[in-house]
Assembly symmetry: C2
Homo-oligomer: 333 residues x 2
Amino acid sequence: MTNTRYDVLGIGNAIVDVIARAEDDFLTKQGMAKGGMSLIDEARATSIYKDMGSAIESSGGSAANTIVGAASFGAHTAFVGKVKNDPLGTVFAHDIRAAGVAFDTPPAKDGPATACCYVLVTPDGERTMNTYLGAAQNLTPADIDPAAIGSAAITYLEGYLWDPKDAKDAFVKAAKAAHDAKRQVALTLSDAFCVDRYRDEFLNLIRNGTVDLLFANESELKSLYQSSDFDTAAAALRKDAKLAAVTRSEKGCVVLSKDRATEVPAFPIEKLVDTTGAGDLFAAGFLYAFARGADHATCGRFGGLAAAEVIQHMGARPETSLRDLAAANGLKA
Amino acid sequence: MTNTRYDVLGIGNAIVDVIARAEDDFLTKQGMAKGGMSLIDEARATSIYKDMGSAIESSGGSAANTIVGAASFGAHTAFVGKVKNDPLGTVFAHDIRAAGVAFDTPPAKDGPATACCYVLVTPDGERTMNTYLGAAQNLTPADIDPAAIGSAAITYLEGYLWDPKDAKDAFVKAAKAAHDAKRQVALTLSDAFCVDRYRDEFLNLIRNGTVDLLFANESELKSLYQSSDFDTAAAALRKDAKLAAVTRSEKGCVVLSKDRATEVPAFPIEKLVDTTGAGDLFAAGFLYAFARGADHATCGRFGGLAAAEVIQHMGARPETSLRDLAAANGLKA
């Protein structure tokens, strides 16, 4: 095993979010599946942008949000993902580096623009996402440096990587490099529709030991096992997975391992503003504590704290130092 | 007088804000004057962006924020300002139109990029701004349509327009067109340093009747009359101005006319997050109520309500319907 340079290295679609408030009617008219993530082409992106309200732009991308969150707790982190050499690509690269994350993936010089996600936040705080993958599709196995992966205690992958063909190959190469270096691989299932697209492949990754730590929310878990009953799906997951953290919104999370199930309540919030990034930031806190060898309950508490911060403002990245927030709440890992 | 098509038409620098949190140390190292607005060139813009933290991008511009706020209350509005035909220009145009504001100024096809303001928000919620004027400098008198100005009950101008030479000429042309059509002209002094640059010219505009309604905050007022005493400066303003609304942060505002001074307390807030846009949104609420013929106290209350909304989140534009917010708080104009 090489020396540990990074606590967590994340690989994901590098995306800039365009976030606006919208009424439920807007989703209905646009035929959007509320709470989900849909892949869209450039023409649809243009059409949605034209119709949606005033927006803010904020760097996003599921795994990228997680890595930024882990860095905010004080973790040593790196991110691998593909932008284009265009204004939004410059924004993405600036923001992730400004968060203290190593980001060395060379930007694409031609081809489609930097990926964009049109996020509609309804009055209930729920977010509905429409992603134009653009340059993110051009992440290839050549962008995966086995030495960097080998120097990370945990390599964190997003299920969304299964969408672009080359990115999937990059995912597989990265997971192999991590295990070759005796490191751990974590996966988030990303989205219930994403699970629906790749159920058998994800189950295979979990069952064949590619995944050491799985993140899922309740609807992703139910989609994975095609069950409407949480307990049934959770029992199935305990048989298949080494370790899993399942988030349940305001019910908190449950950490599942072969020998035990640890329930952790949600961190209290004052006002739900925008759920964008809730799962990403849960993973950030969990991974930070996990990399430090914390017990399951502590990992869950760090996850809950980070998720609570991010859902109380617009956008998927923390607006405050999570390290300071943890200290202020007496959390130690 | 032509028919009234707009309650308020605003003219200002069309700017996209790049907003990040920063410690006071950062301002000191960068030699920035806390709480003010500095004009910067492209090289300085690049250097500041490189050093500043993760940011969000949000359409801004002082008068533009005001007009968007007035539209959010339900006013009929238009905006005149110059962007370039580039990605940030597209963002600016999208956001202002999505807010329901008529925006017909043709974008520049060449020349400098769309204007950008690097906003640093310190832990006390204060914002410090660095503006690269870019394409906004190319607003010229040719962009002023006297018919549009003549159809607006109030033409609202920002003092910042005095910075770019051609924009100043556009300002003068617009003010004349408004008065030719027997309409009213409102001006915000924008910034204490801006007042310092153009004190005599602003005083002349107020004294010669070009300005029917003046907006200023306490430090701008003191700068205007080079006095450290608020009451002295306010007394001088009452002699010079027809009508003025002076904001005093948490002390609320005072509306000054020849015959009376009306004090209005600030609207209570839960938590100060970011003061960016406080003055702009005060003007939005005041102008909305003023265009409806409300009394001075009511105008001040609408201003205070809008300012309170915008300082409780990041960014200078309202995140909620101000019309609904006014209704929820029993405010009627």
